[in-house]
């Protein structure tokens, strides 16, 4: 397994896309953080960048990479290697590479310009999003045989979580505004890792006060330590569930 991870990593470094990704993130972070005099606002802008780019780039890149290296996978599976090991090794390598790129691109500028709990949470939620969306990419890879279909699915999944889900949530809020929907909302928000990441960071910033202005239940809950732990657990679940699913499907998949 270690050897596979090593070779995939080497391949990824040769690929250079990851390096470009890290550089772009770094440039964006530096420009955003140095432009805003108010560092908390800088973190907010960086949060918006993270929530938009990390899921889309993460899932697209991983999906394309998994599909492109299918021959390598098949070749290795001809050897006495368990399918699960192979799949996990590939996932670990890709996710780790993306995480390193994120830490280099966002983590270092944050550490230079702004340090604090909010910055740390931003970093954590960015890493979680990377792990989650590469896990989803893995699931897409094992579900689809065709590369084009797979990439299409990846785009749809990314758009669904960054945009469509919130739209549906808003229409839900709108249509049920007469009812006490605070608790159902809390449950629904756990279904979207992007929202979880957003709330996790927002609650560390001053602006959290505005979310609790109406005395909403979820600020009280999410703002507490229990809330943060709940969010993190949800996100871990979002990583593990797709991986287990894909391992199961891959075991029986006709290659």
């Amino acid at each position: 397994m270690k050897t596979i991870v090593k070779y995939v990593m080497l391949d990824l470094v040769k690929n250079k896309t990851i390096i470009v990704y890290a550089i772009i993130l770094g440039l964006l972070s530096v420009s955003v953080l140095s432009m805003d005099s108010n560092s908390s606002k800088g973190i907010l802008s960086l949060l918006n960048i993270t929530l938009l780019f990390v899921p889309i780039i993460g899932i697209l890149f991983s999906t394309i990479y998994f599909f492109n290296s299918i021959e390598f996978t098949e070749l290795l599976l001809a050897q006495p290697i368990k399918r699960k090991t192979m799949l996990l090794a590939q996932y670990i390598a890709v996710a780790a590479a993306l995480c390193i790129a994120y830490v280099l691109g966002v983590g270092i500028p944050i550490a230079i310009f702004y340090s604090g709990l909010a910055a740390f949470t931003l970093l954590i939620s960015g890493l979680f999003l990377t792990l989650i969306f590469s896990a989803l990419a893995l699931l897409i890879f094992v579900l689809f045989k065709d590369k084009t279909k797979g990439i299409g699915a990846a785009i749809i999944v990314a758009l669904f979580f960054t945009l469509l889900f919130d739209g549906l949530l808003l229409s839900f809020i709108y249509s049920f505004s007469e009812y006490p929907i605070d608790k159902p909302l809390l449950g629904l928000i756990s279904l979207n890792p992007v929202d979880l990441g957003r709330i996790l960071v927002l609650l560390q910033l001053d602006v959290a006060v505005m979310m609790g202005y109406s005395g909403a239940l979820f600020k009280k809950f999410m703002g507490s330590a229990t809330g943060s732990i709940y969010t993190v657990i949800c996100m871990i679940f979002w990583i593990i569930f797709p991986i287990i699913m894909s391992a199961r499907i891959f075991r029986k998949k006709d290659l």
């Binding site: 108010n38 606002k41 907010l44 949060l47 918006n48 929530l51 938009l52 960054t162 945009l163 919130d166 739209g167 949530l169 808003l170 809020i173 709108y174 505004s177 929907i181 605070d182 909302l185 928000i189 992007v194 929202d195 957003r198 709330i199 927002l202 001053d206 602006v207 006060v209 505005m210 979310m211 609790g212 202005y213 109406s214 005395g215 909403a216 979820f218 600020k219």
Partner: protein
């Protein structure tokens, strides 16, 4: 007998001369201050010497001057109140009054002024009292340069720093008030001046007044108070050059206006408040040349407000510029600077050519349905805001600034 009379005469002569020259010195022995006050004549000056006076309920019924030194302390022992002034033109200066008791029957105060006029309270230090200074039916009193601090932070049993009821023509100037329930509380106080005070870290409001007409508030600083400043049921209020800073919390306002008429709010700074100004049922309030910076909501103007003008203000870095709860808008927004304005100025006259709509659609949604705040800062809400700017359908289209200024206004 003769000796005694002669002695008494000598003593009284001595006392008179001494008070003419430099006042009567009072040392902290048992009941010395109480006796000194009851023996004093109108116009006498009592000089409190260094030390702790454990005396309480000192009723001042004569026109006397009480002066303290750096270390003259009146101690209420957490049970009693200190001075009760019932005579006109009394002066209390430079005394420290501490540990006034708390009671649910009477409002215990460091200095209570009852039915008296022209009283001056200056340069005193009030430490850990329920109420600092309590004015009750007082006229033309000066409260100047006092430091009033309490550590209790309890909204229920705590009292106010400066509390005035049914008074007029007061001058409250240069006081430093912290840690009380309300910093300055006025009820039925008219024609008064509140100048250059600093009120911070109070449990409820930095300044709170009701039914107090024609008062002027200028150059005060209200900072980090539990709920900011609340102004209710008054007319003719003038607020100039005040700073409302960092009143930040779930239910905090920089300035809350309720049922205010014919008032002026000019040249104030509202910085880092959850809500800069919240207005409810106000009539003819001019909000001019103020700075609104880094607030959650700069303005919340309820539909019940009418005839107010918002002109020449700077709106910089607020999450939401204006929020309102209806589509009716009877107020005028004109010639303000909005940092979110993205229109153009083709004829270069410094005024934008297209109107600015300060209410974003997301603020309309979240005002209607508070739970929608869960989507705060999500990508979707940014997109709807952008779309709505191009084709306004949900935002109140009457709430707009027809002449948005392109460059930040110099205030």
């Amino acid at each position: 007998m003769r000796v005694v009379i002669a002695f008494a005469v000598i003593v009284s002569v001595f006392q008179t001369t001494s008070c003419l020259s430099m006042g009567i010195k009072v040392y902290p022995t048992l009941n010395s201050l109480r006796n000194a006050i009851s023996n004093a004549h109108s116009g006498d000056t009592l000089l409190l010497q260094n030390g702790i006076f454990k005396e309480h309920d000192l009723v001042v019924k004569k026109r006397i001057v009480l002066k303290g030194t750096v270390n003259s302390i009146i101690d209420g022992e957490n049970k009693f109140q200190a001075f009760i002034v019932q005579a006109d033109s009394v002066v209390i200066d430079g005394i420290e009054i501490r540990d006034i008791g708390r009671s649910s029957i009477t409002d215990m105060a460091g200095i209570r002024i009852v039915n008296a006029n022209f009283v001056t309270i200056s340069g005193n230090r009030f430490v850990n009292n329920t109420y600092g200074i309590y004015l009750q039916n007082a006229e033309r009193c000066n409260i100047i340069g006092n430091t009033i601090h309490s550590d209790f932070k309890d909204e229920v049993s705590g009292g106010n720093g400066i509390h005035a009821w049914k008074s007029n023509h007061l001058l409250v100037k240069g006081n430093n008030i912290s840690g009380h329930r309300d910093g300055i509380y006025f009820e039925f106080v008219t024609e008064s001046q509140i100048i250059s005070n600093i009120s911070f870290g109070n449990a409820r409001y930095g300044l709170h007044f009701m039914f107090s007409h024609n008062d002027t508030y200028s150059s005060n600083t209200f900072k980090d108070n539990g709920a900011g400043v609340a102004v209710m049921y008054s007319r003719g209020v003038v607020m100039l050059n005040n700073d409302f800073l960092h009143n930040w919390g779930d239910a905090s306002y920089g300035l809350l206006l309720k049922e205010i008429t014919d008032s002026k709010i000019e040249h104030n700074h509202f910085i880092r408040n959850t809500v800069g100004i919240h207005m409810e049922g106000t009539t003819r309030v001019d909000v001019k040349q103020n700075l609104f910076q880094d607030n959650g909501w700069a303005l919340r103007v309820q539909a019940s407000c009418s005839g107010s003008n918002f002109t020449g203000n700077n709106f910089i870095g607020n999450s939401f510029d204006v929020a309102t709860n209806g589509s009716l808008m009877l107020n005028l927004f004109d010639r303000n600077f909005w940092d979110k304005y993205d229109g153009y100025d083709l004829n270069r006259n410094g005024v934008g050519d297209v109107p600015y709509y300060p209410v974003s659609v997301y603020s309309v949604i979240s005002e209607k349905i508070p739970s929608a705040m869960i989507l705060y800062h999500s990508f979707l809400t940014d997109i709807i805001d952008k779309v709505e700017k191009v084709m306004p359908t949900m935002i109140p289209d009457k709430l707009k600034d027809d002449n948005p200024i392109i460059k930040k206004i110099a205030l």
